[in-house]
């Protein structure tokens, strides 16, 4: 993929994530901060499908943005054909790994498998 396309994805995921993370944080402020983190409240959040879908979207957006950012930083430090391939595929693998792990939590909690 062209770097210019990757940067457009980087900026797009950033802007979308800012909006959704703001909603995610505001949900913590709808009641007391400590109260919002109580087990029953968190479980209810996960079981509310629109909110769970939003969490999944945040997970994907931030994983893409975060690991692409890490890739850019690592490519600034050192260059080379093999190194660049290793960094790019390593970041891609870490990104998919994190999305899979986070999705497991969201799906299992949403389906009541707790």
């Amino acid at each position: 993929m062209r770097e210019s396309t990757i940067m457009k994805i980087h900026y797009g995921t950033a802007l979308a994530a800012v909006a959704l993370v703001a909603v995610h944080i505001l949900m913590r402020l709808t009641q007391g901060f400590a109260e919002s983190l109580e087990y029953e409240n968190v479980l209810a959040n996960y079981k509310f499908i629109p909110y769970a879908a939003m969490l999944e979207l945040i997970l994907i957006l931030l994983s893409v943005h975060g690991f692409n950012g890490l890739r850019v930083i690592l490519l600034e430090l050192k260059q080379g054909r093999l190194y660049e391939k290793a960094v790019s595929y390593g970041c891609l693998a870490a990104m998919f790994g994190l999305i899979a792990y986070g999705s497991r939590t969201i799906i299992m909690t949403n389906m009541g498998m707790v």
Binding site: A14, V42, G69, L98, T105, V114
Partner: protein
């Protein structure tokens, strides 16, 4: 001066005092990005504790809902706000907003893109991050 004497390596590149606030913003952007990625990975692990049931969740909350945990979260809030505001500034700059008009380079060759608009953007990002940290601490410690 020989070529070796002129090489300062990463130390020279990281020196924030020599190249102005833009270099400070460059470093803060990368450090906050790495910090936020580390926090994000930890947050995904932290929230996965809900699968251990109420006991597991409460055990983990005992670790994070402490004075140290709240200070750590305040730092995360600061990093998040700085990264967001400075990121918007960088995006606008890449889009050609606020970088000035192209002109003939004349001595002392001040880059047109490093102008007061972007400096204000950087200082605003730092200020907003500080305000958000204070607000976050007021919310977390206010209970």
């Amino acid at each position: 001066m020989t070529q070796d004497e002129n090489k300062e390596g990463i130390g020279g590149m990281a020196n924030p005092t020599r190249y102005g606030i833009e270099r400070v913003a460059y470093w803060l952007m990368r450090l906050s990005g790495l910090g936020l990625l580390a926090y994000f990975v930890a947050h995904i692990y932290e929230t996965s504790n809900i699968l251990r049931g109420q006991v597991g969740w409460n055990e983990f909350l005992e670790l994070t809902q402490t004075t140290g945990g709240h200070i750590f979260l305040a730092i995360v809030i600061g990093m998040c706000v700085f990264h967001t505001v400075n990121g918007v500034r960088v995006m606008l700059g890449h889009g050609g907003v606020g970088v000035g008009k192209p002109a003939r380079p004349d001595y002392p060759y001040d880059p047109a893109s490093q102008n007061y608009r972007h400096k204000i953007g950087i200082y605003s990002a730092i200020l907003l991050a500080a305000i958000a940290m204070m607000y976050g601490m007021a919310v977390m410690f206010g209970e």
